[in-house]
Symmetry: C2
Subunit: 136 residues, 2 copies
DNA sequence: CTATTACCTATTGACATAGTAGGTAAATGA
DNA sequence: TCATTTACCTACTATGTCAATAGGTAATAG
């Protein structure tokens, strides 16, 4: 299951893309539009900055801004950054210990196939695919 | 993420299919072959019986048995029964409250598309696809 | 120098996960 | 009949994650 961390992160990025006017957008505005607790978003957005998805600026006139064009973000990288991994079973997660039963495991190929499907799906989607431009 | 409940359930069913000799197979044997705590498997297997995946028989000579042919089980129904839902986001889960933002939600179509992908994938896989018959 | 904003650390309640512990009930076969 | 084997049942627990909240400090613009 994809948690609020990944889902909210995507919504923040869509919001930033749709409301882009060249300057920084305060989190207060994003939280209000998206109807998400600003306090909780702070935690999420901090990690997004750390992960290189956004840039932030403090002080008056500060806020957040995308640091690439919407078509240069894949949804996969956003989810993977925020959720830690895009893996669908524990044994295929990024920092997982190698499973001693792997060679004999009759279910592993199933999980690998699903994992690839998931990976391909989300890496084929771009932020721009989810943005409906309002301005013209 | 698919938890041990779903994953162990599938392994139990593969084990039953591969070691089928017409009679009941004790959980002790399955647990030993699969290297899973028997105590923990008891909980899982009980739900599998309740869900109509297996039949159980008490007493000496008892154990568990598939109640259909391996080709008559889909992996999807096994996971869905054991995990409660195959949904990949909370708002698409079986007992989820209707989301007031659904109509305006710009991410919902993404989750719906992924959900369909997941559903189609696991319902196209059958237990028989995972079984390597040893006897001839 | 004040208002605004990001950024930081810590804490919380609720819930799920992955088990363990210790029994009772049912069936068999010697 | 009775011991053994098995399923089946209730309860408990340790650990971790999720989704926040609380209460600050630092930076910046006007």
């Amino acid at each position: 299951m994809i948690s609020t961390r990944g889902r909210y992160a995507i919504r923040v990025m869509i919001d930033l893309a749709e409301n882009d006017n060249g300057s920084y957008i305060p989190l207060k505005d994003i939280a209000a539009r998206q109807e998400i607790s600003k306090k909780y978003l702070e935690i999420i957005v901090k990690d997004m900055v750390a992960g290189g998805l956004l840039t932030g600026a403090s002080g008056k006139g500060g806020g957040y801004k995308l640091c690439r064009r919407p078509e240069d973000y894949t949804i996969g990288e956003i989810i993977e950054l925020m959720e830690g991994s895009l893996a669908t079973v524990a044994c295929l997660a990024d920092g997982a210990l190698p499973c001693p039963r792997a060679a004999a495991c009759e279910t592993l190929p199933l999980w690998e196939e699903y994992d690839k499907l998931t990976h391909d799906f989300f890496y084929s989607k771009r932020l721009s695919d989810l943005v409906s431009r309002r301005e013209e």
